[in-house]
Amino acid sequence: MMTPEDGFDARLRAAFEKADAQITPDPAFTRRVLGRLGKSVNPRLLVLGSAGATGSALASAQLERLVDGIQFHNAVLTQVFDTFGAQGIVAAAFTLAAASLAYALPRVRL
């Protein structure tokens, strides 16, 4: 048997249903949300990226001296070294490392 309380609940629920029916599914809303997912930049990623870049710059300054002292016994490596020099090789290595980091970071959930 329905009590007056149940009846009022049903009436209230019906009032909400009728009012909420005016809010219809909006495909543009879904597109806006999905569009923003790719653009969201986590501040922690920016901080980590900046710290990584600073560390890489400092390390590369030191590595240049280290690489300069290496004696290559392989003819190809010797020629590469002579062509590009220590600075060029270190720069290339760190560019590769930075590119790998830039590729991997957006896929990491922090």
Binding site: D9, F16, A19, T30, L34, S40
Partner: protein
């Protein structure tokens, strides 16, 4: 056959699949937008908060354990978004509420029973904020009292008290209205 919420959540959490998440957005956007609209009383703000809700849900989807329903988990994020926005806008909100209270006092009693959204919002506007929120969570969003308690972090008994008080006020408004019409 449409994928279940849990399947879509698992796919999104495992691979970041936006298409799967898009299906969840399509499935729950009206519920979240309606809930926030009734709580905020402002469509534009509600839509902004609903967007933030889904973006946060996407970022945190790995933390959904599947213990409760995805709906109540999403409502919790939406409610937190609302509270944060309300804190930020507290001063402006207070001014707005004073303005709305003045406007309401100039208008006839709400006839929310007709289902007109504006009248329902006016009637809800006469409840305290927490009563309004609880009524919306249970009657618009369809959460159980226990789920509403989880979403808001309030004790179950407190949620029930707020709902009973809110309902009593709404019932009194309706009875006043009917008496005036008789």
């Amino acid at each position: 056959m449409a994928a279940s919420d849990l399947e879509l959540v698992a796919l999104t959490a495992a691979t970041g699949d936006r298409h799967a998440f898009g299906q969840l957005v399509e499935r729950y956007q009206t519920l979240v937008r309606a809930m926030l609209t009734r709580i905020c009383g402002n469509h534009a703000l509600a839509d902004d908060l609903a967007q933030e809700t889904f973006i946060k849900a996407y970022r945190k989807i790995g933390s959904f354990t599947g213990k409760g329903s995805f709906k109540s988990w999403l409502c919790r994020i939406a409610y937190t978004e609302f509270l944060q926005a309300a804190r930020k806008r507290k001063a402006a909100q207070a001014a707005l509420e004073r303005f709305q209270a003045h406007q309401d006092s100039q208008q006839p009693h709400a006839n929310w029973d007709t289902g007109d959204a504006l009248d329902l919002d006016r009637a809800l506007g006469r409840l305290s904020e927490v009563e309004r929120n609880m009524i919306v969570l249970c009657f618009s969003t369809g959460l159980s009292h226990a789920e509403a308690a989880q979403v808001t972090g309030l004790p179950l008994g407190t949620v029930k008290s707020h709902i009973n008080r809110g309902k009593a006020k709404l019932r009194a408004m309706l009875e006043d209205k009917e008496a005036a019409q008789a």
